[in-house]
Symmetry: C2
Subunit: 565 residues, 2 copies
């Protein structure tokens, strides 16, 4: 099982995490990909440039301004060296990686600042507002939507504020089951601190090993175990936020109240444009003592989705598995082919016999107190069977759990092998789910095949709600040129299909700079004005995270989010 | 059992609901009260003045402005008659009732407007902004915190916008389990519309029979069955809001998403200061087919609270009873005395034998699909027993359910009998619960006994969360003079104790004008600025609900919330 308390080194500048932990693709998997995508070669020839070759302008901060920054946070907390600036140029979207691997660090910050207290963050913001220096908050740097790109906006300089030194647990209340952390703490360190006291947060996104708690709050993230533990916006009960206009302390009086508009929920998902989150209070639960796995085949994606709907709409919420992932027939087929081997052949034949000619595979994990999972599995099984589900070996679920944090490493390998791979996601109501599934699938496929190249597109449901579910897409294709325009083309096509479908432009990746124009379209001009009014109240000079989340046209910022390619 | 689809007439102007439905207090109850409060007399001599005696100024709207209002909403939708103006002067707090019963309608609107479409609301707001007429949204008129008082603020006239004609269900999605209603629909009509399709909202506050769905949204309300069905802020998935600056349509793309700050949650709880909510989308669930009742005695309030905490913090949320109400020893004692009779005597002796000399009684209701409640009751029972709970006859739970909507009628009778009665509430973390319980109890008692009069103060927990619970206080005392200053004195003392305790200034009654100063203290000046910035973006002239929720001092409004007494 994946160890959720295992801390790893900061991500390498050109890709994900600690490459020593990567598990290279098997010969079998490579052969499958070469065949599926009809690629001539899949050799690892497209290596990132050497760090020394990355093109990077000089820092635009002169000694006077650097001295002011050092006064605010200490001289050991201001970095202008090449490595740090390049490491903070962007996040971990495929486009970010393709650019930096090609040696383009067009959006590198002029300095990287590493405060270690809320007060230092406040002082830093005062200096930056006075000196008109743009500020990009940086937690784990794992944004896949351009959320941490160091765009200066209308200013002549930009700093990236890396919060990794704000990494302590401040308090834990075992009676009310809440804990207060500094916002820069990463997922594994947070889980280790809670595990020592017998608790867990249970918020495990794909990015868990690098992502920070403040990042969860800022992006309104959802972990892969959201069915069991809840989304970040459900888990966060209070925030401390340092804004240029002052300090906000939101929430914390009560688990629920009728005290006016939801200001806490206004800062959750604020993506660094309103302030820098420095402290986060979260709900915690006892560490599960038991973990059970299951995998079920369904005669169709639609049948599987109906089973999930029945589960989540049932009377007893505790009955829903902690992790629910249902692959569509394309993802199921690809996973079976990638696994390969005789046992998969037997499985296919068995499923065919049971009428599952195009199966949709669901994997499930149940976590809970000792002795609690068996009965829940039985009750889930009854629901699955009602929808034509057939239990198969639990090994796909165990394998998923073991490798749950490895996917980003595989992307690095594929990019090196000239294979474009990216993911995107949405959510919508149950009634709108399959129409959205088909429309977005068609848009991605259409955009990829425009120039005749074969591709593979697959989808799964991984977050359930009584009202609907998420849809998570992965696409792969041979790379056209440097892959950047190709990737942007697909994202555009998918985003437009999502908006036309009436689904959410993001379920858990957030808005960043990549989705900003679509957010505006979804919420309308007046809601944008409201977001802008809050921005002006908290950040009157507009230094915070230019070009992310909202496009401001009233002179606060000119949001030059268009980036050199 | 209470029929939740039973619609009743609009409340009488001097009190609650339809007086024909009231159940007068028994001789026994009256004797108990006379004794407990050491009252000389408890005769019903303090009747409200006659409607014709209510002091009411002339409408400050001239014919020109009335004509403009009629142009916006139709001539059959503008009322300036005495009865309508008096009926919309205030809400249903004890202070509101004491004033109007004494013939003081100082805050009556200059006209009452009854639009029937969102578009008419939008047109109306345009006229009022241009003509500088204050606008007070009015749903069921049940506010107990001064939320619907027709205060003109800095304007020379004010209209009350009564939304009762916006009363239709617009659509129902049985797959995603959501329904869209016009915001003026009252609780019983909403439940009747859903019941026809086999669904329920399950949101049943004390005010259910008069309150409107838009009011639930505007006040962030919680129903008495919140443990089973959730609070309004959990149940509402989308809103349409007409603001002077335009129309907002928030939510509705997905049950959850990562699309920036939570604007939906910013409008929930906005108490009419940002716009008029005209459409509300809610999550619905199948109508329960089974309802079971239980009552348990605990050796102390603390022991009972620990049992509730274990229930709500347990693995399986579906196990929590739909309704959980735990009375403290004062409320338990009063309820037993009020019930009286031989069976209560036996019960007391039995509990004494079991070591419950000062019992705290909990009443519970389990609702769900057929066959689902027996097992849940058994599992709850195991938890209750672990905390010293003793099962007693379920009749107190049945009696509560039967009379759940009657308490406001009893208040009307008590006021007529010269007994001051009012309720107030808060919520806090489990760790802070008992300190808050004691501090607020002491503050209320101290304020009531200041002039030597005996009083009775009692509390119950009625809303549970993994992180904490609500505390609901009821106090009674012989009335000093007209009772108004006495009541305000107690509310002030309690509010200050709540703020000092670090608890929420309201759990479900909202802010209105009564709590505005305490809200400011709880959230701080910068958060107030944010609320003000949103106000200015949506209502630049500041016509909406002056003096409620936020105190604006920057010229948008002078918020003259101080009222004549």
């Amino acid at each position: 099982m994946a160890d959720i308390t295992q801390s790893i080194a900061d991500s390498v500048w050109y890709g994900w995490g600690d490459p020593a932990l990567a598990e290279p693709l098997s010969e079998h998997a490579l052969a499958y990909l070469t065949d599926e995508l009809r690629l001539g070669s899949i050799s690892p020839t497209r290596l990132p440039v050497d760090l020394s070759e990355v093109r990077l302008g000089d820092s635009r901060l002169d000694e006077r301004r650097l001295a002011l920054l050092r006064d605010a946070v200490g001289s050991d907390a201001v970095f202008t060296d090449r490595t740090e600036r390049i490491r903070h140029a962007g996040g971990k979207s495929t486009v970010d990686l393709l650019r930096i691997r090609a040696g383009v660090a067009g959006e590198a910050p002029d300095a990287v600042i590493c405060p270690e207290t809320s007060e230092q963050v406040a002082d830093l913001l005062r200096v930056c507002a006075a000196e008109k220096i743009a500020v990009v908050p940086f937690g784990g740097g794992t944004s896949v939507v351009g959320g941490v790109r160091a765009t200066p906006g209308r200013f002549d300089a930009v700093v990236s504020v890396d919060l990794h030194r704000l990494n302590r647990m401040l308090s834990l209340d075992p009676v009310s089951r809440t804990a207060v952390f500094q916002a820069g703490i990463r997922g594994p360190a947070l889980e280790a601190a809670l595990a020592d006291r017998g608790f867990t947060l249970g918020h495990l996104p794909q990015s868990h090993q690098e992502a920070s708690l403040g990042g969860y709050a800022a992006t309104r993230s959802a972990g892969q175990s959201s069915a069991g533990y809840g989304r970040s916006d459900e888990l966060i009960t209070a925030l401390r936020v340092e804004a240029p206009a002052g300090t906000l302390r939101l929430g914390g009086h009560a688990p629920a109240s009728a005290t006016g508009p939801g200001l806490l929920d206004l800062l959750i998902g604020s993506e660094g444009v309103y302030g820098i989150i420095t402290e986060v209070t979260v709900s915690i639960v006892p560490k599960p003592l038991e973990k059970a796995f299951g995998a079920w085949s369904f005669p169709s994606f639609e049948a599987g989705a109906e089973a999930l709907r029945e589960l989540i709409q049932g009377d007893e919420h505790g009955e829903v598995p902690t992790v629910c992932r249902l692959s569509d027939v394309d993802e199921t087929d690809a996973n079976l082919r990638l696994a390969g081997g005789r046992s998969v052949e037997y499985l296919r034949r068995y499923l065919q016999m049971r009428g599952h000619t195009h199966p949709a595979l669901g994997i499930f994990v149940w976590e809970g107190r000792r002795g609690s999972t068996a009965a829940r599995r039985r009750r889930s099984a009854r629901v699955f069977r009602r929808h034509g589900g057939v239990a198969v070996t639990a090994s796909p679920a165990r394998a998923w759990d073991r490798g749950r944090f490895l996917a980003p490493y595989r992307r690095d390998e594929l990019l090196t092998r000239g294979v474009l791979v990216e993911t995107l996601e949405t959510a919508t109501s149950w009634a709108n789910l399959h129409a959205t599934h088909r429309a977005v699938h068609a848009a991605i496929t259409g955009a990829l095949e425009m120039n005749g190249a074969p591709c593979h597109v697959q989808t799964h449901i991984s977050h359930l709600y009584p009202g609907g579910a998420s849809l998570y897409y992965t696409f792969v294709a041979g790379m056209e040129g440097d892959g950047i325009e190709q990737c942007l083309r697909v994202k555009r096509a998918a985003s437009e299909a999502i908006v036309v479908s009436g689904a959410a432009i993001s379920h858990h990746h957030a808005i960043g700079s990549d989705h900003a124009e679509y957010l505006a379209e979804q919420i309308g001009a007046l809601a944008e004005d409201v977001l802008g009014a809050v921005k002006y109240a908290l950040d009157p000079v507009g230094i915070l995270n230019p070009g992310k989340l909202i496009r401001l046209e009233d002179g606060i910022s000119d949001a030059t989010a268009e980036v050199p390619q």
